[in-house]
């Protein structure tokens, strides 16, 4: 009996029949008015479910997206292709080839960078104590000043590439000095440190990593 009643009310005839009209369903009948002639009176009650399912699909997709995405650093990616003249000799090159075949550190520094001067004695210690070669990129610097500085303070680097306009450093993802990269045998960046390389970081983070490589 209920069903019949409901059907009748749902159809257009309910509007003209003298019966009390279910105004409760009236709001839901927004959809019904569209379907008045197809008489699919139950469709309106399905609508909330359908809307929810669509919403849930988007939420599911949303789970796999990271809204805080910032382009990730170059970790676990090959070193970008580069070719720099060395600081000592404009005829010599420092490029990807130099980094292949052995694990190495690449340190980005500049003479104008005060933090780098703090880092310098630590690099000297590492160069003495460890067989790992340290390469350097001299970032947006003056060539003569840099050479003089290394001569007077000591040179921990096996090779120093001179990046006067900073273009190569940008490819490396450098945004401030000092920065230090660990590059493995295949020339893949495995670690990146922003800021001063402290003895703690060297002992607890970089050395264990190098042992694994």
């Amino acid at each position: 009996m209920d069903v019949i009643n409901d059907r009748r009310e749902a159809g257009p005839s309910a509007l003209t029949s003298g019966k009390p009209v279910d105004n409760g369903k009236l709001f839901c009948s927004l959809l019904r008015t569209c379907n008045m002639y197809t008489n699919k009176s139950r469709l309106q009650f399905l609508a909330p479910l359908v809307i929810f399912i669509v919403l849930a699909v988007f939420l599911w997709r949303g789970l796999s997206l990271d809204p805080r995405q910032l382009p990730s650093p170059l970790i676990n990616k090959p070193v970008p292709t580069f070719k720099l003249i060395t600081l000592e000799d404009a005829q010599q090159n420092f490029s990807n080839k130099n980094l292949l075949g052995h694990v190495s550190l690449v340190n980005v520094w500049a003479t104008w960078c005060i933090t780098c001067q703090v880092e310098h004695p630590i690099l000297m210690d590492i160069a003495h104590a460890s067989p790992i070669p340290i390469y350097a990129i001299d970032y947006k610097d003056d060539r003569a000043t840099a050479l003089k500085w290394l001569q007077s303070h000591g040179n921990p680097y096996k090779m120093v590439g001179f990046d006067g306009d900073g273009k190569v450093s940008i490819n490396w993802g450098v945004y401030g000095t000092p920065e230090t990269f660990v590059v493995d045998k295949k020339g893949i960046i495995r670690y990146k440190l922003i800021g001063v390389l402290t003895p703690e970081v060297w002992q607890h983070e970089i050395l264990p990593l190098i042992d694994k490589l």
Binding site: V3, V21, N23, G24, C28, R42, P48, F52, P67
Partner: protein, 635 residues
Amino acid sequence: MIPELGYFALILALGMALIQAIFPLLGIWRDKMSWIVLAKPVALGQFLFLVLSFFCLIYAFVTDDFSVAYVAQNSNTQLPLLYKVAAVWGAHEGSVLLWVTILGFWTALVAVFSKKIPLQMHARVLAVLGFISSGFLLFLITTSSPFRRLLLNTPAQGIDLNPLLQDPGLASHPPMLYMGYVGFSVAFAFAIAALLTNKVDAAWARWMRPWTIAAWCFLTLGITLGSWWAYRVLGWGGWWFWDPVENASFLPWLAGTALIHSLLVTEKRGSFKSWTLLLAICVFSLSLVGTFLVRSGVLVSVHAFANDPARGKFLLLFLAVVIGCGLLLYALRAPFIKGGSYFSLLSRETFLLANNVLLIVAMTTILLGTLYPLIIDALGLGNISVGPPYFNAVFVPLMIPLLFLMGVGPLCYWREMNLKVLLMRLLYPAIIAVFLSLLLLLMTTDKIPVMVFIGLALACWVILVTVKSMLLKGWPLSFNHIGMALAHIGIAVCVIGITMTSYYKLERDVRMQPGDITTVGAYDFKFMGLTNLQGPNYTGLIADFQVTHKDQFVTLLHAQKRLYTAQQIPDTRAAIDAGIFRDLYVALGDPLNNNAWAVRIYYKPFVRWIWWGGLLMVLGGICALKNSISKRYIN
């Protein structure tokens, strides 16, 4: 030992929740009385174990048990005791435990207050609650146990609670919000039980109404406290940011407000039945979606909790099961619900219907704005954000007709109203409202911004009409009517606050050295100097500002810049001189050179009215609650 006890209690609670979910329904199906009556004791037992577990976590915090990972991450020996307890719900795991415990609390209340409800209905309601509870307990135990121990070494010191959360506003607002969120689960359970039995009538609405109003009160209080907290701590003087997490609490509030009104019609007139059912399902669904949005990290927000896809997936699956089943049941059963009674185009029913339409449309537009970045991202169309301008542009125009109708509705009769009588009733309030607001504006300023006029006039209108409705009703008023009047006046007070602060606030960022004077509005702020500050778990500086108004001393403000020692996180505590008609707000920014500081000075007229309005609404809710409880559950 104690943390293990807590964990064990959770597992026992899960077992009881499963029994509570399954046995009553089986009992009804197989007609076994002993299984049906099992629901009540099991619900109480589940609550007991949840409380035990909750106290175990509090104990771990109070005793600085840093072998528990969650405690180590969110507490510190130097943290004051109050915040050690508040830190229990300061991060993900603890908030979920709070969520479940509160669900247990509501379930226990439903179990106890059941005298007049038919046994089968009662058992079904408890079963639905048990099902929700088991889902969340499973989530808690498998993905986010707060009792996990750090297996290696116990750190000597914890990381500390996020300094932003070290404020009395925070200590109280999440529990209130959760009481609201979770409280709507009772309304949901009643709706599902009604759909299962195919019995939707006035009695059903009468049982459900107090639960809905109680949950609504807590949610209102939670939102109000949250806004107050944001104003003091988070927001640099803002009180609402349309942040996804704020929206997550506002969406169920809007739908819940609609539900209360629609429930009234179902109770008094037997109409709007299927719509009320749908709303009840929607409100709790929105609460769940809100919880999901906050917990899964799918949206960027200032509150963003740690992003863990595994948790998100679990929550979403559970959400899909609960909401999906609810809506499917609705789709199957709602077509057979019998109709209500006739009402005319000009009747209280119509105005309540209009109220529902406006609230739900407002809710939908906010939901759209909140999820739009997600949808665009999911479709691969880019990374966008929807800012406050969108929400303001959409929400404000919808509230204007709502406020207008809020005035008309209470002066209307049920079923049918004579247009002439109605207009006569409305005439004087309308005229007085317009003139009063014009007068108020002309007294204070020479030009009248349209929006301010509209806001003030509508607020006056709502207040006047509400007072008139009380006069027409005559003494003694029912608690129901007083509740309605208080809640509506609360809205009006809130509207006045929002309008005045939005249009007359003055905000200045300045560079100040000790001795400098900055004038904001009619107030002069003199930077007196700095003194050192030593708190229990922070150090910092206090900057003193002397405020004068026409050379009369007003107050001395002490703005703080704190540095929480454990995490080395700086935190700004603004100095606020609160007043009925205005707040003066000074916040210290960064130190600049030459002893100068960046200073933020605000003049915020009527800002307190926003929260007073919220409190009035809560008070109104309590009045209505008193009425409906004494009617349905005690006598």
